[in-house]
């Protein structure tokens, strides 16, 4: 069977969930060969094997952390040359998309970004994309070269599918461009202990209606009662009430959880672009005319300062 390269997103060897989803999709079109780079790369093999990787190509070098993006492109290209895969799948993170795009140029291929599903087709893998703030669904293919496709989180289930997962060292030589952009400083994000926004099954978001950084506590409390991630509208982020990393929407994160709860968010098109594909949508807004109510499965017209704490208390009571 044809091999499919899967680029692994991991933090010091801990594989992030979207990569496991990619393995599910890769198995629909061939045999997954994973590529893991940087510190801890070897430690990814066990979990990748459990989810279907027949091989895990690994490389580590200081360049991966000291320079932006290009060293990883050099490594992925080395893997591409070694494997001659039928397709290359990469998680749709900001960095993942850039790595995929530069690889596509080098190997003379087309690229499809932000796929939300992938199936085998007569003329190569067929990707489903969401367009125009998720008001359209398109099906597209790469028609020149080896398909390079980036896939959004929560696009496929994580499935156990034990395979060999044999680790092989990947030989990488860095090109002249690899050291072009130096990373001169790095401040890691502090962990909040909550699930990762893009990967969470439930997201609880607050907007301008929350009316102050000090009030986001009631959004966080609701989130914690459900084991959810916390999101925010751009209005709340621009006001300085919540960090930009938590922004949901066109210029923030795109989320597609099982449940999305919007409190004090009007539902502007740019916000909807980041959450409209959520399975179940719930909103609390004091304005019955707010556009967010066009999207909801359940909506409460009311003051969030009354509704949200009551909801949190009820959830806690039910969970005991």
């Amino acid at each position: 069977m044809a091999e499919v390269l899967v680029y692994v997103d991991h933090v010091d060897g801990a594989v992030r969930k979207p990569t496991l989803e990619l393995l599910t999709l890769a198995r629909r079109i061939g045999e997954p060969v994973a590529v893991a780079l940087g510190a801890g790369a070897d430690a990814t093999a066990a979990v990748l094997a459990e989810h279907g990787a027949v091989k895990v190509l690994t490389a580590d070098a200081p360049e991966f952390a000291e320079y932006l993006v290009v060293p990883k492109v050099d490594a992925l290209q080395a893997a591409y040359d070694a494997v001659s895969p039928a397709a290359v799948l990469v998680p749709s993170s900001a960095e993942g998309k850039e790595i995929a795009a530069r690889l596509a140029v080098r190997i003379g291929s087309g690229i499809i970004t932000d796929a939300v599903d992938l199936e085998a087709g007569d003329e190569g893998p067929v990707a489903t994309q969401s367009a125009f703030a998720a008001s359209f669904t398109t099906k597209s293919r790469v028609s020149k070269g080896t398909p390079v496709i980036t896939v959004k989180p929560n696009s496929a289930p994580v499935e156990a599918a034990p395979a060999a997962g044999a680790v092989e060292a990947l030989a990488v030589t860095f090109g002249a461009l690899a050291t072009g952009t130096k990373v001169t400083g790095r401040t890691p994000r502090e962990s909040t202990g909550r699930p990762e926004l893009t990967e969470a099954a439930i997201v609880v978001s607050g907007g301008r209606g929350v009316n102050g950084a000090e009030n986001f506590g009631i959004i966080e409390e609701l989130a914690d009662s459900l084991g959810a991630a916390v999101g925010a509208s751009r209005a709340a982020v621009d006001a300085g009430w919540y960090p930009h990393t938590n922004q949901v929407g066109q210029t923030g994160k795109s989320v597609s959880p099982q449940l999305y709860i919007a409190s004090g968010i009007s539902g502007a098109i740019q916000h909807r672009a980041g959450m409209q594909t959520s399975k179940t949508i719930v909103a609390i807004n004091k304005d019955a005319e707010a556009p967010i109510f066009d999207l909801v499965d359940y909506g409460v017209v009311g003051d969030l300062f009354a509704v949200v704490p009551q909801l949190t208390a009820e959830i806690k009571a039910r969970k005991g």
Binding site: V11, L68, V69, S93, A94, E95, K97, E98, A101, R102, A104, V105, R106, G110, I111, A131, F132, S135, F136, T137, T138, K139, S140, R141, V142, S143, K144, G145, G180, K182, V183, T184, G185, R186, T187, R189, L226, H244, Q250, T251, L259, I269, I281, V282, I284, A288, V296, D297, Y298, G299, V300, V301, G302, D303, A306, V308, Q310, L311, I315, R318
Partner: protein, 262 residues
Amino acid sequence: MSLRIVVCVKYVPDATGDRQFTEDLTVNRDDVDGLLSELDEYAVEQALQISENSDDDVEITVLTVGPEDAKDALRKALSMGADKAIHVEDDDLHGTDVMGTSLVLAKAIEKAGYDLVITGMASTDGTMGVLPAILAERLGVPQATLLSEVKVEDGTVTGRRDGDSASEQLQASLPALVSVTDQSGEARYPSFKGIMAAKKKPVESWDLEDLEIEADEVGLEGSWTAVDSAAQRPARTAGTIVKDEGEGGKQLAEFLAGQKFI
């Protein structure tokens, strides 16, 4: 010293309009007003700030690949303060994908001459967010992308990139390519004086021949990707909406329990 900045700007259908696809599955540009992609205003703004903070002789050229009406986007950028504009326009460009668009932009940037290329973080219609990285690859210059803060000094560009797991400080030598986010600072409104001045600023038009690109390298035919179908997402089924009469939170909890979220 002189510093030549090329800012790439895209002309897009207004995101708040009812955007549709045409029969050949390209963007319908007729029924929705077009404008300068809002996220590219941030790129123009940063170019202007670099110019204002520089002792060098800075020249800002705005560049677009797009249909006739895309001139509106160039005019807007000129009225914000850019010095001149280049419009790449050719009937054979209809339906070009990202590989084709980047090929055209790279050739045009090289022909124009540059020390620094600035782009937006993503367009508001295609929203791929990969064109900047592809351009850097094609031009063979360092990529310093997704910057929320950018500075140019002594032939070096530095900036802050806020990533998923860390915030990084980047540094690269010119010539280089930079993309800026909507966190980089509010874009200015064109002044009346700016709007009047823009009318006299030069706008050059180039076609594929000027760039020595063959028609079959771009357009729908030359595309590296193919769109097989586009379907309007079915409207979400109307949900239950209740007015809070004191029990709204409890009612919502009941709904969530029914859906097995609790």
